[in-house]
Assembly symmetry: C2
Homo-oligomer: 215 residues x 2
């Protein structure tokens, strides 16, 4: 009895994700789904990236959280179009939630949409949203063993950004060990080591992203 | 159709959790369910706690991970009885997984069992395991807004441990703001600020825990 029900839910999500993708393509909006553990720095990466965008790239943001508008308030304070989705306890965003949020965004005035998913290194990977890229944000304090412990998330990423790199030494973080785990799961996946606080490495990430947006 | 299926799963879990609790009580084993984001320091807290236990308290550990035996290997290297549960992608431990692991632990020789749940600040809170205490481990790098963003986890905790406190200043972590959020959700919940690296605060946590074990 159980498996057919789960399949039904997943396929409904896939269907709406495909509809979202059609909407995004028709609007000329390139979309990132940012996934990470709680507190890895998704909002910081979004803001650091936006700071480095050329004028012709006009961003918008969807913030996903169980509760609160903390991150959306931070984004709005910078004058960036933003919609907060409160999942009401749900552990991930899904495609219908994104669909519901779209009318509240000025899609005609945007060409790059950041979707910040709920902080969850497991469940978020299972629900397509219709994004062009799935980006996983890891961070130095979480430790270098994360690809080995949470393989599905890293295996399905289109890019991985390792944040808080200014603290690699403090956390005795072995970047080679992390990278070997990542390569085993997802050979050749683009990998960026950044610090949103110092700005180190963010330029390389943004250059790669802009290539994708243009492509 | 969907809701009855979900209820059936939940009640099956509750039933097995109650059976686990009977087994734990009959064996005289006090049980902690440690929940946290990935990389908050659950394993470090377990090891730091075990280091401070009096001789008559004999610990054991169940490690829950999607994949790998990294944490179990660390525990086993210290000569502590440990069982690794690999959830195979599942985002949380559940009561039947614990039940399956128990025959591999020397329950007669133990009186304190640490269950390290999967790193997930959302889903783990929804599945009772039969533990005496639900302990949430937060950490300074995750930021002081976590109780506001992940309220269910903090609302249902029997104790909250804030780890990596040696780095509070580095992360501009406002402990009062964190604590206000926690108090709003869970008035009077025991709250410990610790650094497993320096050992600061760990003694207070262990003293409180031992009071509970004896009580």
């Amino acid at each position: 009895m159980k498996i057919p029900v789960v399949k039904e839910i997943l396929s409904a999500n896939e269907r709406v994700a495909a509809e979202n993708r059609i909407t995004f393509d028709a609007s000329g909006v390139f979309v990132l789904n940012l996934m990470a553990s709680p507190g890895a720095g998704k909002t910081s990466l979004i803001l650091s990236t936006i700071d480095r965008l050329p004028e012709e790239v006009r961003p918008g943001v969807i913030e996903g959280d169980l509760a609160s508008t903390i991150d959306a308030d931070t984004i709005a304070a910078r004058g960036i179009p933003v919609v907060q989705i409160n999942t009401g306890g749900n552990c991930h965003l899904d495609a219908p939630m994104i669909r519901t949020a779209l009318p509240d965004l000025p899609m005609d005035e945007m060409n790059l949409l950041f979707i910040e998913n709920v902080g969850n290194l497991v469940c978020t990977a299972n629900f397509a949203l219709g994004a062009d890229l799935a980006v996983v944000v890891a961070s130095a304090p979480e430790g270098h063993d994360k690809p080995y412990k949470y393989p599905a998330m890293f295996a399905s990423a289109d890019a991985v950004v390792l944040n808080k790199a200014d603290l690699l030494d403090v956390f005795e973080f072995d970047v080679d060990y992390f990278r070997r785990g990542l390569e085993m799961l997802n050979p050749g996946v683009p990998f960026f080591v950044v610090s949103c606080r110092t700005g180190d490495g963010v330029g390389d990430w943004v250059a790669w992203l802009l290539d994708r947006v243009d492509g």
